[in-house]
Symmetry: D2
Subunit: 333 residues, 4 copies
């Protein structure tokens, strides 16, 4: 059993904290939040203590810290924890500013304690099954990939200015999935984006619909589709095409119920919120982190995944401006 | 090219006549109907001639006659045609009265010219694929069978008194499918029936909902479900369970279109009328008959299938009265 | 938080104990098992204590006992706990002997402390969604029901003599589902059974394949299909037909992954074991029991459900012997 | 009944000729082919006469000519027929050379007799259902479109040099579908292409895998995926995303049969060849042409569709060379 602390009990922090509480290998000892009452309430619900960051870092029994505070604080908190010898589970992203992350490369690339940056989709059981089949050669050499990532409802307007924009906030997941599934680095990016859903998004300088084509050095191609409002749920699909066949992860349905009527057959609704669609993935990434703490696994994603996905996000934005493909330099260790 | 004549241009006669016209091996020469204007109109549409039965039977160039007149005339017309040396394609049933059919056994069991009684479902490409897989051993020894046969809308009240009742009019298809798929005769029948949909049906002495269990000598079991009103289309499904797995033919959808909305995914509506659901089967049974005329195939169904399915229908009615299983005597050639 | 004890840590006891541990409203204080080492090991894993039954019943802090010991001990343990004022969560069945249960009616029908007999399928989210839609009138008046309940692999031979036979051990679930979904009591049962899978089962006096038709006083009909070996997973399906449409719960797939190849599209495998297929249901029934302890809900199933389903099981066995329908007397409170 | 003639009885000519023969409004009078024996054999099978082009054009009873000869002859034959006052059904494309088509604009854009250039996918019942739903407002304003168009097996090497390349030969269908479904002209094209399947294709100067993004003036986005070898059938899918939901046409299966085994459920194989997948569309486009002859409909596609799709194909090729988006000038009537 490893004692851990949680920094931040907003939406993601609450999810992770409950998964920690249900995980047989982790004990949630401390909860830290800039709103002391929220921390106290949450701590009491889960049998933990509210505490300050300093207290947590000074407690030698604490093996790891979960960082789920606002994005702007991720990097500083992560570095502070690593310096105190604590392992870190950092909710993605490490930061929205590539330069700041790169500046901390010495501490992040080969960290003193394990560092895991949580890209949840790699832990979704459906996508993992797809990845395992590709790796097992079920479709021969992978040739192309289609990623559909559509949000059920637009983000709040207030969130947009600090979100980093569609590519850094949302497509970042697809960039990571592409890297994970393609098996080789992306060498060029083309992106087109529109504001079709909500004109306020455009006023705030962002877009809500995008289509991208990624290409690797060997010519593999990856389509990405993003959309900020489906109305019908969280549309999360992947298709992989290879020399011997294809694989598809289709959308989930909340139950296996079908209703037959004069209009046809209505299969039950799709999970709407990301916390429902990826509930299993959130549990699994906490379990993965327990494996990392036990030394059974290396962290699946950390400095490199953070840098590579941000590089692609910046290239995508540049591609939109230039209306042309943008080349991606090789990653420097 | 075989010259053929059509007796009766009601609903089934029209379907068969158009399939004959589109079949490269058959030429529709004559159309006979007790309403001369209907015959004339139809003949002109399909490039045939209106004629009388006598004229048809006296024309040596006519190789075969399609009997699609009212059920009560099927048997006499079939015998008249066979006696004139014409092959017969008789829309099912030969007759509703088992005694009358058996009385003509000498002429029907080993007919002078080919006799085909059209049980359309044996020619449905989906059910044929299922039957072929069973026969090829795909699920090992067949152990049990589920047949769902539900009508979209109740029959007209006027039709019920002459229909022979649910078991002879509708379940007859399932009895034939059971015999075809089970690979051995049914030895016992249990049936329960209710009038749940339309009280007038009960007043007319019939039922509209039935569930049956059939059993073979070796213990194979077959469930049958009948229902006279789905509201959502013609529900036609088969499941087969064997030692090595199972096979299912699910309902068709009119198109491969799905609509995604807040309630889930709506797959397109089901075929509603039997003429839509079994359009391919009607074409295929006419083609099978052309094979029979060419000597390439024996008629798939005739005297024996007619007798065996009627015996099961009568046993089902008796089972309902006795609330007990009814044993089926072995078929006598 | 309610303190509870677990009697028996075999297959079902382990499942329930882990679900108790993960439930925020229940605390597992004691584990009792006739194998003290198993109890100790399990208690230590879940942070509980190994104890004796007497110790549990004497501890005033214990609010409820979970009975998951061998079936033959369920009834006596349940009665002992109720007499000690403890609420009881009894794994189904209470007993295989109807007379013994009826003899304890005074203590079971209106128990001194809450009594819940766990029929897990009522808590499956898919079946619950179906039941809720029926109740909400989505398909109008329910007319008929099809229950498919097929085991992936035959039970061990050693289990059969003490199992109560197929109807009491396995079909019992379908009898309970039929009562739950039909909305009125079953008035007649017809059953046919065969031994098609494993001849040893027949030597041991049992059957492995059965088809049943249940009927209610108003004429509603229910088909049940049982089979002890699918080879492809735990086949668990329900179809409900009503005046305005139909509902189906189809089999689940372990993931949403499909593989496309020359043979077609392979949707991922089905859950194989009941503990996988009904994992959510087991969690939900423990949560329901917590509701019962809090006074928020009455126990969904207890004495009456136990008696009614056993009555149907005995009638089914009699129907097989008599090859006829067997009438079911009205339940006496 | 309109008398028509067929030019060319290769693969497409044979399909169209059989559909003409089965169409109640058309009579196939002549068959013309540069191989006289092929023409004679085919004419005799379908009850037509073999003839020369001059004979056909000189026969006043001939109302229309189907042009299904080699692509390089389409334009000249079409013009010859139009000059002779015959309506023309021209298999797509009119020509691979945009300049040649534009040079004949005076005769093609407002032809003396009806001119239909057959883009078959517009007549597929599944895609038509999707288009009708979009038009009826089922998903509100259309925002983006995904077109998957993957061939089962690579084209013969001998065909490649005369094919016009992937974009003109194959993507041309997607360009036409995009125009049809988007409801406004494409204003920019980005394309990436690779040769991943067969290195001989690259030696012959072509590619076998492509991903494109099309954009309209109002910002609607359309993804296109092309691939020359699936191994599993003709992968033909469309997804449309709008303000109120989404629509998908998924792949067809050859039957509704599913096989359940330890690996999961295998839905039956996909149509492999385009002549199977689009059999209904080929029938429907011949019927549309009969409507055109009767004056009931204007030809769905002709000069403009031919020019617009070729312009997009040339822009796609230029985009690959320039690694940038290419702007599309407005169509000049």
């Amino acid at each position: 059993m490893f004692n851990v602390a949680m920094m931040g009990v907003g939406r993601m922090g609450s999810i992770h904290a409950r998964n920690i509480a249900a995980n047989a290998r982790l004990t949630l000892k401390y909860v830290v939040d800039h709103q002391p009452e929220a921390a106290a309430r949450f701590a009491s619900e889960l049998g933990a203590e509210a505490a300050t960051l300093d207290h947590v870092l000074g407690d030698a029994s604490i093996r790891a810290v979960f960082v789920a505070s606002p994005t702007s604080t991720h990097l500083d908190l992560t570095l502070a924890c690593l310096r105190a010898g604590k392992a870190v589970f950092c909710e993605k992203p490490l930061d929205l500013d590539l330069a700041k992350i790169r500046a901390a490369r010495a501490e992040l690339a080969l960290p003193a304690a394990p560092l895991f940056v949580a890209f949840n989709r790699r832990f979704d059981p459906h996508f993992r099954a797809l990845q395992a089949r590709i790796e097992a050669g079920a479709i021969g050499v992978l040739e192309s990939l289609h990623l559909v990532n559509h949000d059920p409802l637009p983000a709040a307007h207030a969130f947009i200015p600090t979100s980093g924009g569609l590519f850094k906030d949302f497509t970042i997941h697809d960039f990571d999935m592409a890297r994970w599934l393609l098996g080789e680095p992306v060498s060029e990016v083309f992106a087109w984006a529109s504001c079709l859903i909500d004109p306020v998004v455009a006023e705030l300088g962002d877009v809500d619909t995008a289509k991208l084509v990624l290409r690797t050095a060997s010519g593999k191609l990856c389509l990405v589709s993003n959309n900020r409002r489906t109305g019908y749920g969280y549309d999360q699909r992947i298709e992989a095409f290879g020399a011997k066949g294809a694989l598809r992860v289709d959308n989930l349905h909340t139950t296996a119920l079908g209703a037959w009527g004069a209009q046809g057959m209505l299969a039950d609704r799709f999970p709407f919120a990301f916390i429902d669609r990826y509930a299993d993935a959130y549990r699994a990434e906490v379990d993965h982190f327990a494996d990392v703490l036990e030394g059974k696994a290396a962290a699946a994603t950390g400095y490199r995944a953070s840098v590579e996905s941000l590089v692609l996000a910046e290239a995508a934005a540049e591609s939109v401006r230039r209306r042309a493909a943008v080349a991606i330099p090789a990653f420097e260790e």
